[in-house]
Each structure stands twice: as structure tokens, then as C-alpha cells.
């Protein structure tokens, strides 16, 4: 079974959608639009990486949007006090802490991941709003704005960050012992335990990492929009789930990788871009994204069932 087959297939899908869109709306293929899509994809990718890792480990992190929001709020507040490094550090630390709590709940208390992270979703959201007193913070120093709107050798920084993260996480998942452990736990927890893999430790690291990565995405978001408000993370859950599921990462764990999410993010962004070009309202877009999530999970399950009966 070729590991790369699903990714190549999705590359085909991407090309197919691209061709279709170009025919229907030729403005798709303009440089401007393509860079836009690229930026969208990288943002979506950034947001989805943490989720990918928890799903690979046969868990889920429903709280990543709120954790992103919370760390962004803390980041924004501290930035206004001119402490650049402290702000970034604090933001990342907050994300990691939330992730750690999630991991502890799953590993030590044994809560089902969706339940633990669902609770965290609301708690982090609430904390974020409390922290900012529901106000918008805006106007950040120039040196910070580079993350969101800057260019490095002609390429938008968010795309560079996405590429770097891709590289780092790919390396972690495929070339480190930790990465293999995550896959093993996701594939079959009992087998992993019986093979001497430290399951609890792996789970905690997974969730902490997810929180940390959400905070990273938060940095880029804040920088891009030059403003922070507690509603940032609201609409991220479904598109990110969509990116992961459509990309071919199995919700049951152990199958797929960062490359899949990358492809999924591109597909989602193509579809969203297409919907924009056609003039579909954002509400129909929400509907479509919801439907895409449900159907890709359905297809994943049918494929898994077929596998069982072979």
C-alpha cells in the first residue's frame, strides 16, 4: 500500500478543480488570485496542523480555535505594552498550557478526547473574552507585522511559516521516534502499550503540541489582521476539520500525515475561492463546508469498512 497514493490522488483533484475553475471563471488563473489562494491555503494549513497531529493519534482537538483566540488575546494585550518577545512567549506558553491540560485530561483522567477538548473550547473562549473585556485590540508595532503581511524574498511570510512548519512537523512525524509513537498509538493503542510505547506521555505531548501550534497560528492571524478580538477562532473549526478530513487523514487514527492536510487545505481553499468567484455568499459557503466535512468522513468510514471485509 503506497503511502503517497492518497496524496497523489488529491494532487489530481486539486488540478482537476483548478482546471474546472479556470474554465468557469478565467480570473482564477491570475497571479493575484493564485497568491491569494496560496495565502489562504497556508493560513488554513497553519490552523489545521495541530488538529492533524491529535487526529493521527486517534484523538481530536476541538478546542484549537479557542486556544488560538486565547493566546492571540494575550499576545495582543502584551504587544500593546511594547514587550515584543514577552508577548510572543506568553502567547505560545498559553497555547501549550491549554494543550497540556487537554492532554492530562485524556491521558490521566481518561476522558474521551472530544469531550475534554469540547469543554476546553468553551473555557478558553470565555477566558479570552474575559481577558480582553470584549474589546478589540489593534494597532501593532511594525516589527510584529512581518509575520502576517511581510514578505521575505518576495514570498508572503505566512506562506514561509507554513512551509517551515510543514518541514518541521514532517520531520517530527516521519523521522523521529516521537512521531512513530504517535502513529502507533493512533493505529492501535493496545498494541502500542504492549510494545512498550509510553502511551500517556505520547498523548500529553501530542495535545500540548497542538495547543502550541494553535498559538503559532494565532501569531500569524494577529499579525495579518493587525487586530485581535475574541471572535477570531469561531469559524475555524469546520474548515480545519474539512482540510484534515478531505486531505485523507483518517479520523480513527494512524493513517495519513501532514502532506494530507496540506493537500486538504489547498483543496478547501480552491473550493472556497471558487465559491467566492462564483459569487456564492459566505453563508452558503458555511453550509458547503459543513457538508464537505460530513461527506469526507463518510467516505473515510466506507473505505475503512471495505478494508475490514476484504
Amino acid at each position: 500500500m503506497n503511502r503517497y497514493a492518497p496524496i497523489i490522488m488529491r494532487l489530481g483533484i486539486v488540478l482537476g478543480i483548478g482546471v474546472f475553475l479556470t474554465i468557469v471563471r478565467p480570473e482564477f488563473l491570475t497571479m493575484n488570485n493564485l497568491i491569494n489562494v496560496a495565502r489562504q491555503s497556508s493560513l488554513l494549513f497553519l490552523v489545521s496542523v495541530g488538529l492533524t497531529i491529535t487526529i493521527l493519534g486517534a484523538g481530536i482537538d476541538l478546542s484549537f480555535g479557542s486556544v488560538l483566540t486565547l493566546s492571540a488575546c494575550i499576545l495582543g494585550t502584551l504587544l500593546k505594552t511594547d514587550s515584543f518577545f514577552l508577548a510572543i512567549l506568553a502567547g505560545l506558553a498559553v497555547g501549550a498550557c491549554c494543550g497540556f491540560v487537554n492532554g492530562a485530561l485524556v491521558a490521566f483522567i481518561g476522558l474521551p478526547p472530544f469531550m475534554a477538548t469540547y469543554g476546553m473550547l468553551w473555557i478558553a473562549q470565555g477566558l479570552a473574552i474575559m481577558f480582553t473585556k470584549s474589546e478589540i485590540i489593534y494597532g501593532f508595532p511594525d516589527n510584529f507585522r512581518i509575520f502576517g503581511v511581510g514578505y521575505l524574498i518576495g514570498i508572503p511570510v505566512p506562506i514561509i511559516i507554513a512551509i517551515i512548519l510543514f518541514g518541521v512537523l514532517y520531520f517530527m512525524l516521519i523521522h523521529t521516534v516521537l512521531g512513530r509513537h504517535i502513529y502507533s498509538v493512533g493505529a492501535n493503542l493496545q498494541v502500542a502499550r504492549l510494545s512498550g510505547i509510553p502511551v500517556k506521555r505520547t498523548q500529553i505531548i501530542t495535545y500540548t503540541l497542538s495547543g502550541f501550534l494553535s498559538a503559532c497560528a494565532g501569531i500569524v492571524y494577529v499579525s495579518r489582521m493587525n487586530a485581535v478580538e475574541p471572535a477570531i477562532g469561531d469559524s475555524l473549526l469546520l474548515p480545519a476539520l474539512g482540510a484534515v478530513a478531505i486531505g485523507g487523514v483518517s479520523l480513527f487514527g494512524g493513517e495519513g500525515g501532514i502532506g494530507n492536510t496540506f493537500m486538504g487545505a489547498i483543496i478547501m481553499s480552491f473550493v472556497i475561492n471558487g465559491m467566492n468567484l462564483i459569487g456564492m455568499t459566505s453563508n452558503w459557503q458555511s453550509f458547503t463546508i459543513g457538508a464537505m466535512v460530513v461527506f469526507s468522513v463518510l467516505i473515510d468510514q466506507l473505505r475503512a469498512e471495505k478494508f475490514q471485509t476484504l
Binding site: 523521522h175 521516534v177 512513530r180 493496545q190 504492549l194 510494545s195 510505547i197
Partner: protein, 503 residues
């Protein structure tokens, strides 16, 4: 085999195949009305396969089933129940938070004439009747969760009775009962017989069988050895010989080392409440120690305690003389490998490629800095594939399509990667064909000849006798006998395992 008007159930020529193995071979079995027919045989003889076919869990590969003289097919558990076959499994299937009455009538709740509501009056009344019939004094309105095991079993019997099942199958009914509860059960069974209900009684306890059964069928290796009336049985040994008398393994013999090495594993007073009791054993480098006993004797539970998956209440586990904390992570680091009984769910991650499975346990030892090296991984994997002769076109495939023997080799390779010094095999050749068995034995032989120690759980007596330097027999959570291979034979092992003559 006589077919009289008394015969309620008949199996003719029933065979059942699983991939690579013929679990049942041309079984002719009949059950008379109002008789208690005992089914005995070793582990893996085919008893549970036979029962599952009867219960409708899966169909036979060949053969026909006749019920009350007519040919039937039982294609689902529901059909089995509808026919009137009630199976009381060892694992009780009751729903904890609904009333006992509802448990008894699950799926058949009586309801009022024209409304969709449950008729509680009738429900409790019928439940009370059924419970009284089986001699249970539990309150039908109480929730099932608070019952003891014996009481739960009685509820299951009440359920079987309430369906007016003409055939009741009992799988090891007395395993967890006290003497008094066993007496009650036998009274109940005698009462059922009078009403014309037939009972298939599976048990290892020969004295009980002699007391309660009318006929005995002995199964061995998926075939019927003999069906006889209870009064035709001369003595215990007669039965045991029927259960066991097969050829000793001739296709493989070990070279046994004269000199054994240091003690690798030792347990002292290992106890886990209600499961294993005061177990003392040791394994030396260069030897294979066999753990014989019946299913439920506690062997798997014992090794799970040793490996650290389950915790133990009392006692210690010593590895090379040092007390080790029992958890799987530490055990693997120390050098213990565990090859579980159920390869497909506990031994291999089916969705990961063979390569990952082989490397899973050993990664931390092979790459102490945490960074992997693809080339080194491939080298190690290919080396084991070659030396163990794992037959697969590619290591990137998933293990699902490998034969049982090759799957086991993958798991052995997994532990070789960790440089394990002690290998715990739980049923090493279950579900593996003869040719591959020889290969696995060869592997085990080489392992110990190179200094490893092996603790082997096996229910195949010839295997135990052929491969072990020493044998421990377990029964009901204790070690009841230690034997050197020269002293042991099949009858002896079975006798100690079943505890005949020691009650």
C-alpha cells in the same frame, strides 16, 4: 448414531474452515430430548466453534443441521433464539442499569393490548415465575448491576427458561460457583430434564459431568473421538486418554542445552486478587519453560502481570535478580518481549505496514537520540525478514494478508529489535499450519540456544511436551505442579490441569 423420535437436534457432517485451519471436521452429533449431553475436549478442540454454529454466530462450511427432524439453517443469533436455542455464555450479557425483569425479557417485553406501553404487571409476574423456577430469590425490579456472578447466571437461566427454550447450552457454568450454588444448579438442571428440555453442558470438571450428564461426547482436534453413555465410562483415565491420545510431534525436535544459564525471570508470591495466587516460578537463559493448563487457569493473566500490563497486589517479579517495576514501558526497556495470544488485535497494528510493526518496540533502543534513520531502519528490517524468512513481497504492505505463521514471525522480529532476553509467548502456534509451526519452533530453538529465555503458554499438549525444558501446570490461578520434560506426558499434564482426583 441412532436417530430416534427422541432426537431433537442433529449435526450431520458439519465442518468449519477458517483461513488456514479446519476447526471442525465432519462432526456427527445428536441431542436427545430431555438429556444432558456433555461436551468435553481440550482447548482448541472445537467446542466453542460447535456452539457458535449452533447459536448462529457463523454458518458451517459443510454439513447440515436438523432440528426436530427438519433441516434448518441458523444464520443469525436471532434465528437461533427463535428456534429455541438458548446459549448461556461464560461472559454474562446483562444490561446493568435496567431491571432484572427487563433483562429476562429483553426484546420480548409484554405490552398492553392496544397501547405501546410495557405491561409491568405481567412483566414482573412472569419474571418472578421464571426466577422462582430457577431458584433465584432476587427482586425482579432490582437493577442488574448489583448481582453477583452466580445470581447473574441464574438470571440468564431464567431467561432461557422464559423462552421455553427446548435446548439450553451452558458453557462452563460452574467455573465461578460455590459448592452450594453448584448443587442448586444441578437441581435446576434435573428439573429442566423432567420438563423435556435438553442441555448441552460444556465443562472441564469431569466429576461434575459424571454426576449430571447422560452422555458424553469427546472432541479432539475438531473431530469427534467418541460419544458414549456415562455409565460406559470406566474411569477418569479412560476419558483422559480419549481426549488426548494423539501422535507426539514428529516433525520437529529441539536440541536441548545441557547447561542452562542464569535465572532470567523469577516471580515470588505473585498474587492478583481473585485471579492468580502465590505464583512462584523461574526461567533460565537457554531454556523454554512451558505453562500448561486449561483456559481460565490464569496463565495469560499471570504473564500480563509479569509484563506489567496488569498490576499485581502482592509479590515480586525479578529480572536477572533485580526487582523490576511492572509496567510495559520498563519491561521492554529491561528486555522482556510479549507475544500475545490474539495476534491481530494485540500483537500487530493492522493498518501500519509490516516495517513499522517490526520497528515499533525497538525504536528507542535503536535510535537513542530520537532521530530516525531510514537506511538503518531498512537494513534492520530486511535483515530480520531474511533471517526469519518472512514471506512478503514488500515490507510496506500491511500485515493483514500474511499467513498466521508469518504474522507471528513479524512479532518475533519486533522483539528481536529490542534485543529481548526473555520472550513470553502466549499460544505461539495458534492458528498456524503445520509447516509454519516447524519454522516457529526452529526460531524458538535458536533463540534459546543463543542465550535467551522463553516462557511459553500453550494449550497444545504435544507442543508443550516437545518444546519445553520444564513445565509448570496451572489451575485456578495457582501453579499445581512443576515437571521436568522427562517426567511428563500428556495424560499427566491434563490430569493436573483438570485437577481430577484432587477435589
Amino acid at each position: 448414531m441412532q436417530h430416534t423420535s427422541d432426537t431433537i437436534l442433529e449435526f450431520r457432517g458439519i465442518s468449519k474452515d477458517f483461513p488456514g485451519i479446519r476447526a471442525l471436521n465432519n462432526i456427527d452429533f445428536d441431542l436427545k430430548k430431555g438429556e444432558v449431553h456433555a461436551l468435553i475436549g481440550e482447548n482448541g478442540a472445537g467446542k466453542s466453534t460447535l456452539i457458535k454454529i449452533l447459536a448462529g454466530v457463523f454458518p458451517p462450511t459443510e454439513g447440515q443441521i436438523y432440528y426436530k427432524g427438519e433441516k434448518v439453517t441458523i444464520s443469525s443469533p436471532k434465528e437461533g433464539i427463535d428456534l429455541g436455542i438458548s446459549v448461556i455464555y461464560q461472559e454474562i450479557t446483562l444490561v446493568p442499569y435496567i431491571s432484572i425483569a427487563k433483562n429476562i425479557f429483553l426484546g420480548r417485553e409484554p405490552h398492553r393490548k392496544y397501547l405501546p406501553f410495557i405491561d409491568y404487571k405481567r412483566l414482573y409476574r412472569d419474571a418472578e415465575k421464571a426466577l422462582q423456577k430457577v431458584g433465584s430469590s432476587v427482586d425482579p425490579k432490582a437493577k442488574a448491576i448489583n448481582l453477583g456472578v452466580a445470581e447473574k447466571q441464574l438470571v440468564e437461566m431464567a431467561r432461557a427458561f422464559s423462552v421455553s427454550a427446548p435446548i439450553i447450552v451452558m458453557d462452563e457454568p460452574t467455573a465461578t460457583l460455590t459448592q452450594r450454588e453448584i448443587r442448586n444448579l444441578f437441581q435446576l438442571i434435573k428439573g429442566f430434564k423432567k420438563e423435556g428440555i435438553s442441555i448441552i453442558y460444556i465443562s472441564h470438571r469431569l466429576e461434575e459431568i459424571f454426576e449430571i450428564a447422560d452422555r458424553i461426547t469427546v472432541l479432539r482436534d475438531g473431530k469427534i473421538v467418541e460419544t458414549l453413555n456415562v455409565d460406559e465410562v470406566k474411569d477418569l483415565n479412560h476419558i483422559i486418554r480419549l481426549m488426548v491420545g494423539r501422535n507426539i510431534l514428529t516433525f520437529f525436535s529441539r536440541n536441548f542445552l545441557q547447561e542452562k544459564g542464569a535465572i532470567v525471570l523469577e516471580t515470588k508470591n505473585l498474587t492478583r486478587e481473585g485471579i492468580i495466587n502465590d505464583v512462584n516460578l523461574y526461567v533460565r537463559s537457554g531454556e523454554i519453560v512451558g505453562l500448561a493448563g486449561l483456559v481460565g487457569a490464569g496463565r495469560t493473566e499471570l504473564v500480563r502481570c509479569i509484563f506489567g500490563v496488569d498490576s499485581h497486589k502482592d509479590g515480586e517479579v525479578l529480572f536477572f535478580g533485580n526487582k523490576i517495576p511492572t509496567n510495559p514501558v520498563k519491561s521492554v526497556i529491561a528486555g522482556i518481549g510479549f507475544l500475545p495470544e490474539d495476534r491481530k488485535t494485540d500483537g500487530l497494528a493492522m493498518i501500519l505496514p509490516i516495517r513499522e510493526n517490526i520497528l515499533m518496540a525497538g525504536l528507542r533502543k535503536i535510535f537513542p537520540f530520537g532521530i530516525l534513520n531510514g537506511r538503518k531502519e531498512s537494513k534492520i528490517v530486511n535483515q530480520y525478514v531474511k533471517t526469519l524468512r518472512i514471506a512478503t513481497p514488500s515490507v510496506m504492505r500491511i500485515p493483514k494478508y500474511l499467513s498466521g505463521g508469518n504474522q507471528q514471525k513479524v512479532i518475533v522480529a519486533k522483539w528481536l529489535c529490542t534485543q529481548a532476553k526473555l520472550f513470553i509467548f502466549d499460544e505461539p502456534t495458534r492458528g498456524i499450519d503445520v509447516g509454519a509451526k516447524a519454522e516457529i519452533y526452529q526460531l524458538m530453538n535458536e533463540l534459546v540456544n543463543q542465550g535467551a529465555a522463553i516462557l511459553m503458554i500453550s494449550s497444545e499438549l504435544p507442543e508443550v511436551l516437545n518444546m519445553s525444558d520444564r513445565i509448570y501446570v496451572m489451575r485456578e490461578g495457582r501453579i499445581v505442579k512443576e515437571l521436568a520434560r522427562e517426567e511428563a506426558n500428556q495424560e499427566m499434564l491434563l490430569k493436573y490441569a483438570m485437577g481430577s482426583g484432587e477435589r
